[in-house]
């Protein structure tokens, strides 16, 4: 580890010491956090950048960027192969990323962490291996009405291939997951429940402990799309007792191009391989090939080595800040922003579930989401406008597009104020 990085880690650790036992807003030093993110220093159209598109992708702290640069500059090589010094160090760095992730989500072992290209590939991996091997005609997969396309389409493809039945848990008008309705959908034919932990389109936090308990009572496995949860709250996969948990690095302050499938070892090791190639084999002859155990069985080819190092650094960063502190900060922002935005005339918040994360999707009278996005952009504010890759839930609310502000650990109340001011310009221009 570079001395500079050590210093920065110590600096971040100090924040935690300062805030021990105290989750108040003032204790979480957001200005010090912001100083870690070089990209936030810029202006756009002459206005300070206000980045409120964290649910799409988050920005990267210097600690992640530096860790990746250090890897490329000092110990980059291929992993798990060479006998030489660099290959050993690269393997150590890569596997350290796996260990950090395992610890961060409290997996039972490092072998339960499969690296993928992202959450999308993680879900597709389960559909293509577990799904193809163990699900057949008439078996049921249950998803919810507020899934991202990445947790809908792989199951539809499996339905078309294997004849499984896809069932959808409804939500209410506030975006709450309807647990009673879910319970009614569970049958002895239900093999898998695949639901989001936090909806990217509505901000709803689903009642995961209950979802898992009810599924397991019926003998079904549970796969969770955890993309929006990992960066924002403490996730303990063993306490939740989920069978699979999928997430992307780039939404949790790490690099693009890498994600994770957590799976219970005993399940992963019953699943056939995903792709064939190097890295995933025990031995190969033209007659027969035997495969390694998980996770390597699912990691054919040269993996995203430096990205794993970067993801590990992102985990270090989040742990140093403390996920409880991050969650408390964002929960304060959500409450503040909800109150401020609700006071904007003609604005409606889409998704007002009882349990919500820092995502606010909204509509305005006389202003289409795109027009809102374009206008606030000129005030330096980055929001998402569109269907958020979750068209079925948009249809559920009868809207084609919403504007969405989604918060990260570096956002401030002042930035919420800038958004609210920019929305006044929307009203001024579009009436």
């Amino acid at each position: 580890m570079l001395n500079k990085e050590k210093e920065e880690m110590t600096k971040a650790t100090n924040v935690v010491e300062m805030t021990a036992g105290d989750n108040s807003m003032s204790a979480f030093d957001v200005e010090r956090v912001r100083a870690d993110f070089p990209i936030l220093e810029q202006t756009v159209y002459g206005r300070p950048l206000v980045y409120l598109d964290n649910a799409a992708s988050s920005q990267k702290p210097r600690q992640v960027i530096n860790a990746m640069s250090e890897a490329y500059e000092t110990y980059y090589s291929n992993v798990h192969r060479g006998l030489h010094n660099l290959s050993q160090r690269a393997t150590d760095g890569f596997e350290a990323g796996r260990e950090k992730i395992a610890r961060f989500i409290n997996a039972g072992s490092d072998d339960e962490i499969v690296f993928t290209r992202g959450a999308t590939e993680a879900i597709n991996l389960v559909a293509a291996t577990y799904g193809r091997a163990f699900l057949g005609e008439g078996d049921e997969v249950i998803i919810s009405h507020m899934e991202h396309h990445s947790n809908i389409v792989p199951w539809q493809m499996l339905r078309d291939e294997k004849g499984i039945t896809l069932k959808v848990v409804p939500i209410d008008d506030d975006g709450n997951f309807l647990l009673d309705e879910y319970e009614k959908l569970l049958t002895p034919r239900t093999k898998l429940v695949a639901v989001t932990h936090i909806s990217n389109a509505l901000g709803t936090i689903t009642p995961m402990a209950d979802i898992v308990r009810l599924a397991h009572d019926r003998g079904a496995l549970v796969l969770v799309d955890g993309c929006q949860a990992l960066p924002h709250m403490k996730v303990d996969v063993r306490a939740l007792d989920v069978d699979f948990y999928a997430f992307s690095s780039h939404k949790m302050y790490g690099p693009t191009g890498i994600g994770v499938l957590y799976g219970k070892s005993d399940i992963l090791n019953t699943m056939p391989p995903y792709q064939g190639g190097g890295e995933m084999i025990a031995s190969v002859s033209f007659e027969e090939t035997t495969y390694k155990a998980a996770p390597h069985r699912f990691e054919a080819g040269t993996p995203a080595i430096v990205e794993a190092v970067g993801l590990g650094a992102a985990v270090d960063y989040l742990e140093a800040l403390g996920m409880d502190n991050v969650a408390a900060h964002e929960s304060g922002l959500l409450a503040y922003a909800t109150q401020k935005l609700s006071a904007v005339p003609g604005l409606t918040i889409n998704g007002q579930a009882k349990e919500k994360a820092g995502i606010i999707a909204f509509l305005m009278e006389n202003a289409h989401a795109h027009d809102i996005g374009t206008i606030v952009d000129r005030a330096g504010v980055a929001v998402r406008a569109g269907h958020h890759c979750a068209q079925p839930v948009m249809d559920r609310f009868g809207v084609a597009a919403t504007a969405r502000a989604s918060f990260g650990l570096y956002n401030t109340r002042e930035e919420v104020d800038v958004l609210v001011e920019a929305l006044a310009a929307v009203r001024e221009l579009l009436g």
């Binding site: 006389n366 000129r378 569109g386």
Partner: protein
Amino acid sequence: MLDDLRELYQEVILDHSRNPRNFRHPGNANCEAHGHNPMCGDMLTIYLSLDEDGIIQDAAFEGKGCAIAVASASMMTQILPGKTVAQAEKLFSSFHDMCTKEDYEPFDTDDSNGEDEDAMERLQMLSGVRQFPIRVKCATLAWHTMKAAVAGDGECPLVPVSTE
């Protein structure tokens, strides 16, 4: 901040988006296509009535979209009646250039008659999108769909529009 935005959201455009003209499903349309911008979910259906000589007698539309997409569709349906398909396509080409090219010259009279010049003058209202490259797709969705309708494609999944 507001200058570029005022250029984009001119009163005429806001009027067309709030009160779109020819927003209906005509019974006698013999060409139609469904245009969809998968990036944002905007959807427009364009209906055209072509006579035997290939002249557009009526143009109308339905759908959902942002102010720019709806205003552009509304203005297009006012401009098209009386034009041949070839003229309509040529207008689209000029309009596309107007939306994307800094050096676009509004009134190249070499090969256009007075009517087309007049149409281009009206479409000039939408030229503010040049400063907002991501919004060019909104302004051209109706025109792409019109082109698909006359070509008999039915569906028009919008391919990303080059902003070069």
